[in-house]
Amino acid sequence: MFTSANAPLTAPVRPGGTLERWAERHLRILMLAPTMLILLGLTIFPSIYMFYAAVHKISPNPDVPWDFVGPGNFLRLLSDQQFHVALLNTSVFTVSAVTAEFLLGLGLALLLDKYVRRLTFLKTVLMIPMMLPPIAVAITWKIIYEPQFGVLNEIMFRLGLPAQAWAGDASLAMFSIIVADVWQWTPFMFLLMLAGLASLPVEPYEAAELDGASSWRQFWDLTVPFLKPVIAIALLLRVMDALRLFDLVFILTGGGPADRTKVLSLYIYQVAYRFADIGYAAAISLFVLFVTIVLSTWFMKRMRLAE
């Protein structure tokens, strides 16, 4: 065993008492400990608690012991019509909103990337909705949709068109929610697509040009395959987020009219906090988590990202 000629023969004596020296030695752990404890308290413990709660009937009365019901809460999902409505509405919303956001985001990115590359101000403006707090977006759209005094109906009225109950009409309410969500989250898609386009190699396009490939062929055979990983990530993130939709529905429609906009997050909130049925709410939450994991895994495999 060799030691460096310059290495001290004994450990350096540090100033201070025993506690200070101990703190000095374990400083990294001490610095990380609060974060780890918070993480444990805010994510690990609630997750375990949720699993535990999902197999119990929990009374809001603290003196009533928890009643173990096994899979009972999960079996309730099969016969709960409000849950089925919320599941259907969430699916309709997720598919419609994410598809529209993707197509618009990709279209805008192609347009701005190719033709107006220098308009950074416009790009910044387009990103504003995404930066707004969801609650502010919801309130803004509530004012826009207001049937009597809202901007949208005022325009309709001035154009001689019939006013619409945008958030109040059972056949329009979900569409109105989707429009507000598309307005807020299209910039997210746009941003990712723009970043993806900026990273594309130039050579294949030059070769395609020489071969006389049309713009459409270049887009379909080069851009789309190259962008596939970015598209996959963007869609995955948006789908996961859309499944958790809450703010817009809570503020704009409260789940109505006629249950047409009741989504899973809103239903979980109602079950947990209005009906004080924590066990069943935990079971629905676990179901949503399960669906999200299954969808994500399937999606990743489909997009060949798994490997």
Binding site: P60, P62, G254
Partner: protein, 419 residues
């Protein structure tokens, strides 16, 4: 040096965080609305007067229920007093979240609340309704009234609407001549609590109710219920497009802007309608009790009440504050801050009734005394939700009124286990 400073700061922050909640003698959970603002002002007065530290925690309406329920379920004792909407009382009382006040009244040498409180205001603070022990004291005397533009109604051939038929007659004429910009009636049609709150007075005015007298049967799908539903749908037809999503703000705005001629509404809107900076209708809106159907009209009572949390560690202090805040003197001060009173002496106080802004007091007092509480059931939030969904569907026209009644009957039977 820097490290020592870091450790000292970390320890100091932790100690402050642990003790932050415990600085007050009483902590009160209130809604972030005029009711909560009134109690906040009273709490500041109490602190100055008695030297007791009172902390007010304000939260939006729905969050007050959630936070109170969580505090009760966990026995955290974080709140000593909760300012509750009266339909919440059965939930909080029957789940052991509220303190029975009987022993506190006895130790204070009192039989119970004094007789100056309106009888209907006191009845809701007992659980079971009007017969059980007191679990709260009334603070804000809300009950629905009928608000209407008397000039417009007169133009439409109805001097003062006494029945729903009168409202429909004038309302239809006004909507027909309004050109899509003015409407004879407006109501809260939003799914859940809003649509139920505006339907119940009509339901009652046709002799219908959710349960029979001894609460052994659900009685929604009845001929009386059908008659009420027929009127409700007729009122929808003369209301603005989009009323299916309306809540209190939209209804209040429509009336204040002079875009609608009438509605059922709560008295806390009077201040808005009489404020020139917020209303085009200052001095033009008349107030009456709920119109009759086949039976006399009845308002939905919606009092804000103060209950002591069972897990409170400062129950005596909480009781003392509650009694002080609901005294005649304090209720009068609260009235001047915009909260409707719960005491006869304040309703009839000439100093108040001589003022224009309190001209609705005689009607409001009558409305409270003729009011009906929402069905007192610990599962009321669930019942209201189910009933609200079906009413919303009927208002939106996705099902027929008959189907709405039938579905509501089935849903409430399932929730309550009654047939």
């Amino acid at each position: 040096m820097l490290r020592r400073l870091f450790f000292t700061l970390a320890i100091a922050t932790s100690v402050l965080a642990l003790n932050g909640a415990a600085w007050a003698d009483i902590t009160i959970l209130v809604p972030s609305s005029s009711e909560g603002d009134g109690l906040r002002a009273a709490a500041a007065d109490y602190s100055k007067l008695k030297g007791t530290k009172v902390e007010i925690v304000q939260a939006p309406y729905a969050n007050v229920f959630e936070q109170g329920a969580n505090a009760g379920a966990t026995k955290s004792g974080v709140f000593d007093i909760i300012l509750m909407d009266d339909p919440w009382i059965p939930f909080f009382a029957e789940n052991g979240h509220l303190e029975d006040m009987t022993a506190y009244f006895k130790s204070a040498g009192m039989e119970g609340p004094d007789s100056d409180f309106l009888s209907k205001s006191l009845a809701i603070c007992r659980n079971p309704y009007n017969t059980g022990p007191y679990v709260c004291l009334p603070y804000v005397g809300n009950a629905q009234m009928f608000f209407y533009d008397a000039t417009k109604f007169k133009e439409a051939g109805v001097d003062a609407p006494k029945t729903w038929d009168d409202v429909l007659k004038a309302g239809k004429a006004l909507t027909d001549s309004g050109g899509g910009r003015y409407f004879g009636y407006v109501f809260r049609g939003g799914q859940g609590n809003p649509v139920v709150a505006d339907f119940m007075p009509i339901f009652w005015s046709y002799g219908a109710d959710l349960f029979n007298a001894d609460r052994t049967k659900v009685t929604i799908d009845t001929p009386e219920g059908a008659a009420a539903m027929k009127t409700f749908i007729a009122l929808r037809d003369i209301s603005p497009k989009g009323v299916e999503s309306y809540n209190a703000n939209e209804v209040g705005t429509a009336l204040a802007a002079g875009a609608a001629a009438s509605s059922i509404n709560w008295p806390n809107w009077v201040a808005t309608f009489e404020d020139p900076s917020q209303s085009k209708m200052v001095g033009k809106i008349s107030y009456s009790t709920i119109p009759a159907g086949t039976k006399p009209g009845s308002s939905e009572i919606g009092h804000w009440t103060m209950g002591i949390m069972a897990a409170s560690k400062n129950k005596q202090e909480a009781f003392d504050f509650t009694v002080w805040a609901t005294s005649a003197e304090q209720i009068k001060i609260s009235a001047t801050r915009g909260n409707p009173p719960v005491r006869t002496s304040v309703f009839t106080d000439p100093e108040l009734t001589s003022q224009e802004k309190f001209r609705h007091y005689p009607v409001l007092m009558e409305a409270i005394q003729a009011s009906t509480p929402r069905p007192r059931h610990p599962k009321w939030p669930e019942i209201e939700n189910a009933f609200g969904i079906e009413l919303s569907k009927a208002v939106a026209g996705t099902i027929t009124p008959e189907e709405a009644l039938k579905n509501s009957q089935t849903a409430v039977e399932q929730i309550t286990g009654l047939k």
